[in-house]
Amino acid sequence: MNVAMDADSLATLKFGIGQPVPRKEDPTLLQGQGRYTDDISLSGQLYAVIVRSQVAHGRILSIDTETAAAMPGVLGVYTGADLVAAGFGLMPKGLAFKNRDGSDMAKPDQLPLTTDFVRYVGDPVAFVVAETQMQARDAAEAVMVDIDPLPAVTEPALAVEPGAPQLYPNVPNNLILDYHYGDAEGVAKAMSAAAHVTKLRIRNNRIVVAQMEPRSAIGEYDPATDRWTLRLGCQGVFGMRQMLSSVLGAKTGNIHVLTGHVGGSFGMKASLYPEYLCALHAGRALGKPVKWTDERSDSFLSDSHGRDHDFTAELALDEDGKFLALRLNGFGNVGAVMSNSTPQPSTLNAVKNSIGVYRTPLLEVNTKIVFTNTTPVGPYRGAGRPEANYYMERLIDTAAAEMGIDRIELRRRNHIAADAFPYRTPSGNDYDSGDFPALLDHALALADWDNFSTRRTESRKRGKLRGLGVGQYLEVTAPPGAEMGGIRFEPDGAVTIITGTLDYGQGHATPFAQVLSNQLGVPFDKIRLIQGDSDQLIAGGGTGGSKSIITSGGAIIEASGLVIDKGKKIAAHVLEAAEIDIEFSGGRFNIAGTDRGIGIMELAAKLREGMQLPPDMPTTLDVAHIYKGAPSSFPNGCHVAEVEIDPDTGETEVVRYSMVNDFGVVINPLLVEGQAHGGIVQGIGQALRERVVYDEDGQLMTGSFMDYCLPRAVDAPSFAFDAHSVPARTNLLGAKGCGEAGCAGALPSVMNAVVDALSEFGIRHIDMPATPEAVWAAIAAART
């Protein structure tokens, strides 16, 4: 049977899985037509400005709002007491972990706005609403907050000491969680019996997320329907609505969350922040929409920070360099207030991700999660995954140097073999697939590893030190969870995907449409995506942990199957055939063995026009499905960084960067490569430039882009990128999450390269960020 390919089928191939399809939203964004929250102006909209604590710790004696309230244009000045009086409840308590003794972690009650103590510089204490932004800003300056200052503590190791300032009366020693995982006895035995133990203290520096779009929200309330509406940038409207429900004491059906374009987030915008509740409260109190948009100077204080762990890492090896045991002991600084995933990065994610691509039979992780008088710490690209890989990879390079074993050879001796899958790690993960030795070889070839000495000699002629570093990572991504797969055939001939992940730059609309186009043969350009309207969702896990293509992609595949099931019934009726004889392929329902059939778009059009159907027949092809989710995926790869250091200034430049990644089945290589690039430069930023600094009083010293060194175009290298895909066996697409992998490869490869360049001075370790000052000081100290 020869059936000519119709235009729809050809379009499907062009936009099929694996094609580098440009992004659907780009013509809009490239012309400045994006609709980020602050670009929206609602009729009658008012403006809110937040009043924040200027001290890191203290008791609130009084908040005088009278002067501000009398200023021109001011319609309301509110404090935490007003929110309590209005019935606003406690902030969500987030994840639950157990202490080593089995007891629950501490979870102090936290109001949206504090009423008794301030605990960090930037802690919101009041807010002003006025007719214009400028009026609100002026009046916010006039709110008099009288605070009796208390001593502050910013370092977790100091915060747990006896006599340290206490942030919450019911959290002794500021210790939220005394976390333990693993076989302590077995690890101790292995350590004492080992031929060699490598030990490093590694600081995981605190990072400002610095997404380019400051947070913004517009709050409204409609008394006629008793409905709240919140417009904001977030990482998933379904989960945001759930969190709002608990604080507002409202049913989820009475809350509408809307998200348009989101200008970056990297984990940070996933949390429910107090400012959103302020906008909602004022929206109800004043009967008008209230917009709040952060200013960058406040963003540095009020957006959750990332990282900030302090670990002592130990690796035990036998005389041949075989890994025997890994132990991490340290602290996770979570700042002054819990965010919704606060304890996870330095506990569970350290456990899961420190194992990486190596056979290490024994693992122990001990983490003290501690409050300090600093900005709350939340998830940031990888949320503990890249850092755990970093700890392991630094240990391996150090052990190799200490034992006189080549660092590549040491990795090869310990790789999990390509035929070892499924492989159960001591962290309880079941790796399904991978080829770690081959990835290492592939990356070394791409990086021209063998000819490095020629390049080092050339650098030396110019007075530069040159170093080469490898970072082989494996991340445990895509935490399992349910996700909506909705498919709707619209009156205008479009097909809408409805799902509850939410992209803040990833470009979901395109790969999701590629998946749908592949499954149903629907033309790519007819496919739209709804992701940011909570009224449209029956489930939604949001985006985070590199999971969107796995959860939403899987949801779309299952939903497509249901569309086909419905379509076969209807097509059988239309074609006057038995349902069992209907086959679906290439976007057409055909009677098997004949050339008679009907295309899915044509069938949808017939249904729209209205046709007589038997009573038991589906009347649309539409599906609203909940996909139960898939197990975690294990993206991995090997990055090779090459740096040049000027020994006179300490300035480090990444001069070559090569990577080979296993992201399983790649839906859209154009987008996936971009995800890797972005993650790597964030990693380079953390490794070489970025660092949050507090003074002893808890004042933020790095509160602007002049003081906080975000990588710019001149700081970033060009990339060599190769794929080495081994399809995942545990999800419908065979995909492995790519979103956070760049950081995971970059931290170890860059820092191993820096240490390699400095090794001639006998330097074995340098902490991130390897700023010019830090590198220069290390060289100077080594020379004396």
């Binding site: 012309q31 610095a210 997404q211 964030q682 060009s718």
Partner: protein, 160 residues
């Protein structure tokens, strides 16, 4: 404070608006002229998200007062494309997927246009230094630089 009347040219069209003396040109563009393509990323001239071209010069509109626009010619992101036809720089950004969240993108497009209007044949290093005033947290800059070099070649009539 009384508002001042400002007469200017925006994207080739005569434009006038009222501005308070302390209002930034960025706020005037966004709030008075409803041209929301220019973004505020920092308000202090460090990020370049608000980049516009004033009389051929690349400017952070957050650092310029609205009243200073009097009599000047302004190009914003909304004026870069030719109607529905994307400017070569925009098209190359699309082809290379040189944007992710898109928030810094208007500034980068405008800054790139300003570069290529002046220097049609930049080296990669020159392009990186020219664009060093535009922060992007998403892309890692690699695709941006490739798009810029590709657009420059195309605009010079060279096949890349």
């Amino acid at each position: 404070m009384s508002k001042q009347h400002v007469t200017t040219t925006i994207n080739g069209e005569p434009a006038e608006f009222l501005a308070e003396p302390f209002m930034s040109l960025l706020d005037a563009l966004r709030d008075e002229m409803h041209l929301t393509g220019s973004k505020e990323g920092c308000g202090s001239g460090d990020c370049g998200a608000c980049s516009i071209i004033v009389d051929g010069r690349l400017v952070c509109s957050c650092l310029m007062l609205a009243v200073e626009a009097e009599g000047h010619e302004i190009i914003t992101i909304e004026g870069v494309a030719n109607g529905d036809e994307l400017h070569p720089v925009q098209r190359k950004f699309l082809e290379h997927a040189a944007l992710q969240c898109g928030y810094c993108t208007p500034g980068l497009i405008v800054a790139t246009k300003a570069l290529l209007d002046r220097h049609p044949n930049p080296t990669e290093t020159e392009a990186r230094y020219w664009l060093a005033g535009n922060l992007c947290r998403c892309t890692g800059y690699d695709k941006i630089i490739r798009a810029v070099m590709d657009a420059a070649a195309e605009m010079r009539g060279v096949t890349a």
